[in-house]
Subunit: 415 residues, 2 copies
């Protein structure tokens, strides 16, 4: 395979071309690439079959195998994703502000592509076309590093993407795949500061931690969500039951699912048995602290570790508190900066919770499951940032852009 | 000294308090702290004298010694800096947008403090109060790690800051200083992800590179500027001479000074001798490529290395090009993403240069020296970002904030 240096150099050349491509040409290309995915579905399925055969031989679990497997319908969904991104407004090129300074300089702030984006992800091959679509729409070259499990699928998909771009007269190097999936190459990739402007890891907590630890390229941390719901003393119980049920069980393996409950002690006796009934009916195992177990002894005992855990499973932890202050302190200590909700009819409680909780998304009386680019109205999502720099919360197209200052002078010099 | 863990924990507690302090209280505290610096100038000067005595013994150069030395006037300037920041509008708490979604959820994006900021800097002790002022104004706790050369100055300044805060009834831990200036502690500090939200290095290229290489905390890279001026074939020569003279010689050791010239071959013979006369009269040494030296043989020969160099000195490199494309390619290859200017009367050239140059600030017909928070109208500056994430170009108070989504629901759950 090519050295990372060569791949980086190609991306650098492609990004210059992409910057000048223009909105119309980018949109046309995205529709053409979507069409190509459908036309070449057989080749993609053939690649995917090699991966799934190998995965089965290696004893991959059913859940992971399902994420890895492509079908005609899933390829059509990938194409539809590209068409949807093609139809979104292009954020690149707008001037966000322009001010005249006392010396006559006109200083504008213009939205521009980041340049070259690196994406490191795991076994889901649909990320390959999704990430390409979002990066291409925003004028960025992208270098993809997928998992070794999906290497044949990704190679086939990227080959279709590249050929389709070339057919549109656009540099195929707008999207490149690292075919060497060794750990050494991944680590070297994370230090390619000269060529890569930002790295976005998409996957489990282990992958993200590894990228944060090893990368010298700026990283946008996505992902893990130990999301809390706090049932206040002034909660509407019926609403609390609906929201907790939804946030815990509507989909289990997602980062915006609720993993931890905090309950005010004054409502524990009345509310908690109702909640236990509702959740156990859906096979959710409840791990509660001693005070909650005194009310419902059928619950398992929660350990310190449970309060900090993202289960991604039919499990939830329960902590009892005596005040809003204690609830906020508990959540700010254990949360991962993702999504937190309060259920209350009390105005002051709602406003204080919104003000004091430190997370990307803070809710009053709604399910944490809404933290999502689609639900927030962004039309697309490259991930959910749990860090504070650059982008926080669901990231749409704008998160893949930066700004530059453009300054119009008439010979000004500094005194 | 306390362990980093303890320092981090204290900052975490302080940041919660700062979040709730409110604009009025923060402003009053900044004025009180400014006053305290002036009142306790003697203690600060005594600490500073220990540092300068030691520095002299160790043979520190005059330039560095000057940066390290405090005077009553310099302490008054530090206080005045705090008063200026106190008077600026507080960016924290504004809701930047709020949209109603089809399901009735009201989703707002609110500006909030980053939380805890780490600053790693070198010998100038005035950075200590400047950085505190900007972080405090934006509701952030700050942990400072200054150079060992300035340890007694920094200890004295931070002691004044902390006592003044305590007198206002505010946690002194809003500002903490690492008194252990060992390399090991610095490296551990750069990995304190649990407590620090962002690290900002302020200093030379070596310091910044070390932070980028070692930090697992998100970094805002500031600093190095290999700034170019391109003299186009359609340049106004008189304007070009004024701007280049200003950008090179008005102040030498700053990141927005011009270090590299690019000249269109068609104006080389007429323009370059005028430029050489102007710059050599100011003792600037010119390192030019072969084509430029054919016109002015008195120039030194430029090597490849010169084109990439930030001299911070009376030196400038010259590259001859045959087209705008070649000029843009040269600048995009060698620049550090700081500030680049074109001198031209040609509309198309100006617009293409603004569009295609990849840098934080791109100028037409003005000196690169304007890239500065004060000059851009931000009222204060924590540094100039040369990276693309979060903030690019001069960073004012807003760069020390992030956003969070606040969501007002009425029991919404996800379908």
């Amino acid at each position: 395979m090519e050295t990372l240096e060569v791949i980086g150099q190609r991306a650098r050349e492609a990004k210059t071309e992409l910057l000048l491509l223009g909105q119309k040409k980018k949109t046309e290309a995205l529709y053409a690439v979507a069409e190509a995915l459908v036309i070449h579905a057989d080749e993609i399925l053939a690649g995917n079959r090699k991966d799934t055969d190998a995965a089965r031989e290696n004893g991959m679990s059913e859940g992971l195998l399902d994420r890895l497997t492509l079908t005609v319908a899933r390829i059509e969904a990938m194409a539809e994703g590209l068409r949807k991104v093609a139809a979104l407004p292009d954020p690149v090129g707008s001037v966000l502000s322009m001010e005249k300074r006392p010396n006559g300089l006109l200083i504008g702030k213009k939205r521009v592509p980041l340049g070259c984006v690196g994406i490191i992800y795991e076994s889901r091959p649909n990320v390959t076309s999704d990430a390409f679509g979002l990066c291409f729409k925003t004028g960025n070259a992208v270098i993809l590093r997928g998992g070794s499990d999906a290497i044949h699928s990704n190679t086939a998909i990227v080959s279709v993407l590249r050929n389709a771009l070339a057919s549109c007269g656009i540099s195929a190097d707008a999207v490149q795949l690292l075919t060497d999936t060794s750990r050494e190459t991944a680590t070297a990739f994370m230090k390619l500061n000269q060529y890569i402007d930002v790295l976005i890891p998409r996957g489990g907590a282990g992958l993200i931690a590894s990228v944060v630890r090893n990368s010298t390229v700026p990283v946008i941390e996505t992902g893990t969500g130990n999301c809390h719901i706090y049932v206040d003393k002034d909660a509407d119980f019926a609403m609390a039951l609906e929201i907790i049920d939804n946030a815990k069980t509507q989909r289990l393996g997602v980062c915006n699912a609720c993993e931890s409950l905090v309950i005010h002690s004054s409502v524990l006796e009345e509310f908690f048995p109702q909640l236990v009934a509702r959740l156990t009916a859906k096979d959710v195992v409840i791990r509660a602290d001693a005070r909650a177990r005194a009310v419902c002894p059928q619950c398992e005992a929660a350990t310190e570790e449970d309060f900090g855990k993202e289960y991604l499973d039919r499990l939830i932890s329960v902590k009892t508190v005596d005040s809003l202050e204690e609830a906020i302190a508990h959540i700010n200590w254990y949360n991962t900066g993702h999504s937190e909700a309060v259920i209350t009819e009390n105005y002051d409680t709602a406003m204080r919770f919104l003000e004091e909780i430190d997370a990307a998304a803070v809710y009053v009386n709604a399910s944490t499951r809404f933290t999502d680019g689609e639900e927030f109205g962004f039309g697309a999502e490259i991930g959910i940032s749990t860090q504070k720099l650059h982008a926080r919360g669901p990231m749409g197209l704008e998160a893949l852009t930066t700004t530059k200052y453009i300054i119009f002078g008439q010979g000004q010099v500094r005194e």
